[in-house]
Symmetry: C5
Subunit: 317 residues, 5 copies
């Protein structure tokens, strides 16, 4: 357990390693980093603590809940390719002049270090929570940018040929984007709630801060939606590519079949063993068959051209 | 019929088996569990009772209706794979200091036992109703989690091969998820209504409780939507798999046909019975036919490779 | 023309067949059933009567319009398979203490009889209009239930085979459901408007009544949407069934072609009339051809199995 | 330029052909019909006149803009098959007691004549503008009805066979409906704005009028959406028809190929020129080949029936 | 760095090239054009300047943020085919009586020149910002018009034949339109925010101006949506064209195969070398084979016509 003092005057955080023995007695604002077990065994009366603990047993989404005396919530950050190697989550519990941050993954230490730089004189605990939320999405734009660039490469491949394993690749992106979208939706709901709450408590500065947070998250959310739409367009292009490819293949099959079956019939015809077939008697019989065959081929080619059976590569757009 | 006393002071429920004879006379809050018939034959003046009875004749959705004197409604819980074996429904009728719970399926006894633990001093009947609603969705997240995991297995199958009976399986999930979605939509409407109602009656604590309930249900609803989207993505992947498979099959057909028809024509040609065909005279006639055939095959293979007729498994993404 | 008295004290309707001569003079609330012609020729000053008449010339949707002095509107009930044999419509015109019901189809008599049972002491004309609206949708849930059950039968057929005339059947349902949806949307708009109007006129009881009506219609509307989604799912399943069927057919074609074309080439080859083909000299030539043919077939079958050309019915999900 | 006087007392319009010389001096409400050039050269101080003129240079949509002193806007009526032969547009400029109507197409004269009938005592210029807007959509319902009927004919064709030029026809309707939808959306925005404006200016009667206008336009808009959905359903039916047709064709191809290729192999086999083939020695060789061929055909037909390769017309739904 | 004086009295901008030395001391409203570096090194206390600078490091969208003391934002104008050759962006920072415009691309000089014409007496800096925003979208309608016309040409091509490189062309338009849509959505959000802000600051004139701006942007946004829908319709038409083309090809293949395979079987049959085939003995054997072949062809053609295998070009809609 790490306990931080928030010096109201200077807006600075200082670490106080006393294993949380004197939490209760302090009157200064404090930020206490601890894990689930420590939070459960914390002495003192913390209203609705049980509710947060039971929520944290099985974390699937980010949320915030306000009770009469305290605000509590969970933030669940999905794994994001570029920066983070794994997903992580933490709970927060804001009660009187104490902000508890409950986590198992030891990711918050680093984030708190980042947040320290943003702090100013008269910074409240509500503000610190906002700064933490802001720090969590600080590099997300770069991560989304990266996904978009990767999809551009996929598009370039698809436009040239029909790639193997397209489905697996697309499915992976779809899941990733669905997850991001859900994440931002939950953060938007959270931000919305906090804005309302700050308004009710008449904390104007905090309200404006949460509003800006909301707008930032919404822009990320819209970016995700744009990428999702782009992914959808690539998928539809792939579908069309397959359809065109199929069309090409069938054209070849049809042309080949139509060219050869009649000729094969002719040769079959004169392969019959009927005695006294007049054509065999005729002097130019064999030449006539050659002529008819050539003629047939010419007629068919003209017909195919006219009917545009083959999607000509000259029909450029 | 089971009658429970709600001791306002201690927030405890105690069972009073007197077959409902003295319901009217009590001034303490009571919870009365009974079936349709008992509710119909209940003595005393219960306004709009007829309305609830006629609604319960044919239950299709959850709803709540407020009248001037009473609040009444129906909750219809769909069958959910994991925990419940069958769907069930019950009506509730909140009038003065009495909460009637009307059901045929005897599922509520168990739920009331669970609810008992949540009760506290000064707990009102409105609170009890909220606790019951909360108890009903307590394990739903696990159930949805289960569905999602099953769908992941389906995805793994589809990515490898085109399974039989895919349509039946997908259809079953779709129905299940449609049902869940409708269920949560109705609960959200209910929660919304109750929140409004509590606000109008100036029951602040109850209003906050219903708001938290609403948010819980909305998160479940959003989870259902996410799973539905996932299911849709699996379906689209399956479609694409079929299209690719078809493409492969047609490629084989086209290649085989294009390879063999010309050769067959050649053999047919020299199977003709025209007398005096010059090729037969020629010494190297047979060798020439062999040579032409081999040449033809080579040309065709080169052409197919160049035109990418076959979706090569080397075109990895 | 049928004129009804609404006795405010007892909440009863009594018929007064005097051909509408004394309408003007009465001070009691009245409900007057009449047809378009009678309404047009009605003596007395009825504001905006012309507007209603011109609206009724060409009825396509249900609507309600409020003027300063009167409320008027049209209800257009679409044909619904189970109960009603044909669509019908009527106009209403609520002015001072008179409710005019204008129709050509003589359907309202029956509905008014049903409505009589709901009436109570102090029942107003606004209430009667609400009761009529409620009576109109009383059995709709059963009708929608019927459609859903029929669609379940369609699904069962589609899951087993590709039925003829699927398109016609689906198109019929789609139209029916589109019509129902539009109908409920219009009723919701109407209910919404009436609720607002009652609120403005400070008729609390009526407002609550119209709110409940709105919610009832919305539930029906949502039910229609659920059925529409179900229909859509059946359609998509049908599409997939066709795709799978096509895939099967093409597999057969490809397998058959790939099996027989090479063999046919072999037989064609040895059907050529070249003199002195060495194979014919060889003693085991014929046996060798048989052997090669059998070998070819075995290789192809192994290849097809490995490449999963055929969607095996053992690949159960 | 045509100048009309609006006599407030009688609610009548009278024409005053004086070429707009005395516009400025009048104190009575006036409606002035003129073209762009005349409007530009109008003497007097008309605020934000430049804004309207520049908007009218390039008209693409209907809009209304309110400034501190004046209300101005543009209405762009798309070509609608039945009644109008071409699209037309006009601007309006409402300033003090003057309503300028600016157009090049001379369509408004006729509309003003229609509007005259609706005018009443104390009719304001705002009312006249509303009446003009109402007159513009008066026959639209009939026009949309016409489109719907035409689409029903298209549906009847598609259900029977796959028509040529379907794409062109559908594309034409789609464009038409997109245009209509955009038109009504813009009118709804306009109506909404005017309603707000009237509310702000405390013109209750006008506000109610614009509200009714809004509702009328919304119903038309919803009708367009219904037709668009119907069009979409026809398109999807057409798609399915093509898929089924393709399925049929492929079934024929597969059946024919599967029936004939084995037989052709047999005949090819016994067309080989191997000396001493034992079958030729056998007395019943030829009969056996006939027998085997017939047997093969029977087996194949049974197989096809069992596997439902052919979509039987007996599988009626 | 270019510094402009805004003379409040005359509403005129005059350039003051003093390299920003006296910015601080002025009491007149000023517009200062400068680049990122200059803005960073600006002396004086500019609250939240760091926030804008860090936002401008990586510009992806247009946004505006209000702090207690200042309004700041970024506008990112995408490349638009017709007029602009490249995308550009700039930041703005409105603090006290100074409007800083920060950009690297030197595009604003030109825009400011345009804006000068719109300025009037008593024009505020807020107004100037609005005028700049308006100037940025002044020609967008022509640009969108251009895209629509190009798509009409694409449609004309697609309706006649299946063009090559359709996918690439469509993808390019899709991206362009997605970008435009996102751009206008961001501008709408900005306009919305500014309107709210002006309302809070009680700047009525400015609020109305931003409202008109919002409506202009919304119309452009709706136009983009209409074009997107049109693009979608062209894509769907292309899909259908491919399906129809495939259908045609398969019809040809099926007809050719069905015509020739039976005849080929017959010729194969009589190419068998069985000794003593009775048909060869029969005098009219050869004639009979000719007759049967012709009959077969006739029967098949009749069958194809009846079953509408071929999509006849006489089946005009
Ligand atoms: Mg969004
Ligand atoms: Mg958006
Ligand atoms: Mg978007
Ligand atoms: Mg998607
Ligand atoms: Mg599509
Ligand atoms: Mg496809
Ligand atoms: Mg939701
Ligand atoms: Mg959502
Ligand atoms: Mg949702
Ligand atoms: Mg979601
Ligand atoms: Mg779905
Ligand atoms: Mg799709
Ligand atoms: Mg498909
Ligand atoms: Mg709903
Ligand atoms: Mg709905
Ligand atoms: Mg639904
Ligand atoms: Mg649909
Ligand atoms: Mg589909
Ligand atoms: Mg399909
Ligand atoms: Mg609609
Ligand atoms: Mg709509
Ligand atoms: Mg609507
Ligand atoms: Mg729809
Ligand atoms: Mg559409
Ligand atoms: Mg299709
Ligand atoms: Mg819009
Ligand atoms: Mg639109
Ligand atoms: Mg839109
Ligand atoms: Mg799109
Ligand atoms: Mg489609
Ligand atoms: Mg397709």
């Amino acid at each position: 357990m790490n306990r931080y003092w928030l010096h109201a005057a200077s807006g600075e955080l200082s670490l106080a390693r006393d294993n949380g023995k004197n939490i209760e007695k302090e009157s200064e604002p404090q930020i206490i980093l601890l894990n689930m077990e420590e939070f459960q065994q914390l002495e003192g009366n913390y209203p609705h603590r049980k509710n947060l603990i039971s929520s944290m047993r099985f974390i699937r989404y980010s949320k915030v809940e306000a009770f009469h005396e305290c605000v509590q919530g969970i933030i669940h950050v999905p794994k994001q390719g570029s920066k983070k190697e794994k997903e992580f989550s933490f709970g927060f519990y804001l009660f009187e002049n104490k902000l508890f941050l409950i986590e198992e993954d030891e990711e918050l230490q680093e984030i708190l270090a980042k947040v320290k730089n943003d702090m100013f004189d008269g910074c409240t605990l509500h503000m610190v929570l906002l700064f933490i939320c802001n720090a969590l999405i600080d590099n997300d734009i770069l991560y989304l940018q990266k996904i978009e660039e990767n999809l551009e490469k996929v598009e370039d491949v698809v436009i040239k040929r029909i790639p193997e394993h397209f489905n697996e690749v697309i499915m992976r992106y779809r899941k990733q984007l669905s997850e991001s979208r859900a994440y931002y939706e939950q953060l938007m709901n959270m931000g919305d709630f906090m804005q309302m709450y700050m308004n009710r408590e008449s904390l104007v500065e905090e309200e404006q801060g949460w509003e800006r947070y909301m707008n930032r998250v919404e822009r990320l959310h819209n970016y995700v939606e744009t990428i999702r739409e782009y992914l959808q367009q690539i998928r539809e292009m792939y579908q069309t590519q397959i359809d065109i490819h199929q069309n090409r293949i069938m054209s070849i099959l049809t042309i080949v079949t139509t060219l050869f079956l009649p000729l094969t019939l002719i040769t079959g015809w004169y392969g019959m063993n009927f005695p006294g077939m007049p054509e065999f008697q005729w002097k130019y019989g064999y030449l006539a068959v050659i002529g008819v065959s050539v003629l047939l081929i010419i007629i068919e080619i003209v017909y195919f051209k006219k009917k545009r059976i083959w999607i000509s590569s000259k029909d450029v757009m």
